[in-house]
Symmetry: C2
Subunit: 193 residues, 2 copies
């Protein structure tokens, strides 16, 4: 998605060969017009997947997921990190190690909002090693639901998460795939979509 690649190139900050900071428009401050365009693009890419629910992970995925869900006219659902009292005890859970935060956390989804009739479109802001996405897939499998697509805003193509999921047969579409970063230059892989 050219619009996103341009935004990353113009405003994103790469540090070394691995860290990409996009907190100016994607995961702290939010460019809502861009998020809306991303939602529209995910709808174009996944509209024939038969999704019944758009599922993401708090917090950075929520903004993209709600605009996506609006185009699909579907409910959005976000997995919660750690135990929130107001989720209740009846949850599907999976553990996930976060490299960003340097610790393991538990991801929860209430059993009330996912069941075996659901076809899930996963939406998230970042894909690197794929840990968070795999934990969410574990939860969706516990519910007996089906993953019909995985939409990612920014994929780090030099990390194994996206390839591993594609190799397993998942329909993964990333709006921007960073092939490499060095000396502040960001190189994108040819469009995935």
């Amino acid at each position: 998605m050219k619009l996103l690649e341009e935004k990353i190139a113009n405003e994103g900050v790469s540090i070394g060969t691995d860290i990409l900071k996009v907190d100016m428009f994607l995961n702290h401050q939010l460019d809502v017009n861009l998020l809306d365009e991303m939602g529209k693009e995910f709808y174009r890419l996944f509209k024939d997947c038969g999704a019944t629910k758009v599922v993401t992970i708090e917090s950075s995925g929520i903004g993209i997921a709600v605009f996506t869900a609006k185009y699909f006219n579907l409910p959005a659902l976000f997995a919660k990190k750690a135990q929130h009292k107001n989720v209740g005890n009846e949850v599907y859970s999976a553990k996930c190690y976060s490299f960003t935060h340097g610790k393991e956390y538990t991801m929860n989804v209430s059993k009330k909002y996912l069941d075996s009739s659901d076809k899930v479109l996963i939406i998230d802001d970042f894909m690197a090693g794929g840990n968070a996405c795999n934990a969410l897939i574990d939860i969706i499998n516990q519910a007996g639901a089906e993953v019909v697509g995985i939409g990612v805003a920014i994929e780090k193509g030099f990390q194994p998460g996206g390839k591993a999921l594609r190799d397993k047969g998942y329909k993964v579409r990333s709006l921007a795939i960073v092939e490499s970063m060095s000396d502040g230059n960001i190189t994108f892989r040819n469009d995935d979509c």
Copy 2:
């Protein structure tokens, strides 16, 4: 806002006289069409406030805030709970006790995204004692920015947060004010807006 009051009355679950669960449409699963209507209503209520930024608190406020910001054509910004590595050290911070989670946490906003030129519209999903909102106001004050409005989805009118903020002169508008809850019945205060 009748639409929200009806949704709470039809789908919300009150427990005792204090707990209101709306995780089926507002803070776990998200009814994005409702969130969009709430964003439109906040625009109607605050469009003349001169806001330059819509600021909320992760996670449940994000969905409402991004739709609101879309109507305003403004950036959204969410305060992060606890220290996230990717925020950096240059943050405004305030401590906040969460009754929902039974613990104190630190709320952070990067200094890059708030300054003395900003006029902030605060958007959040719930107002009870007002702790989270007051911590966010503290952060906005640290930045030298101005709070021009506070938009709340659901206010617990029997708790002191909303009244205290109105008494201080803030323009607080709540889309639904719960006056009381008992035996599963939810009573609303006359429309605030």
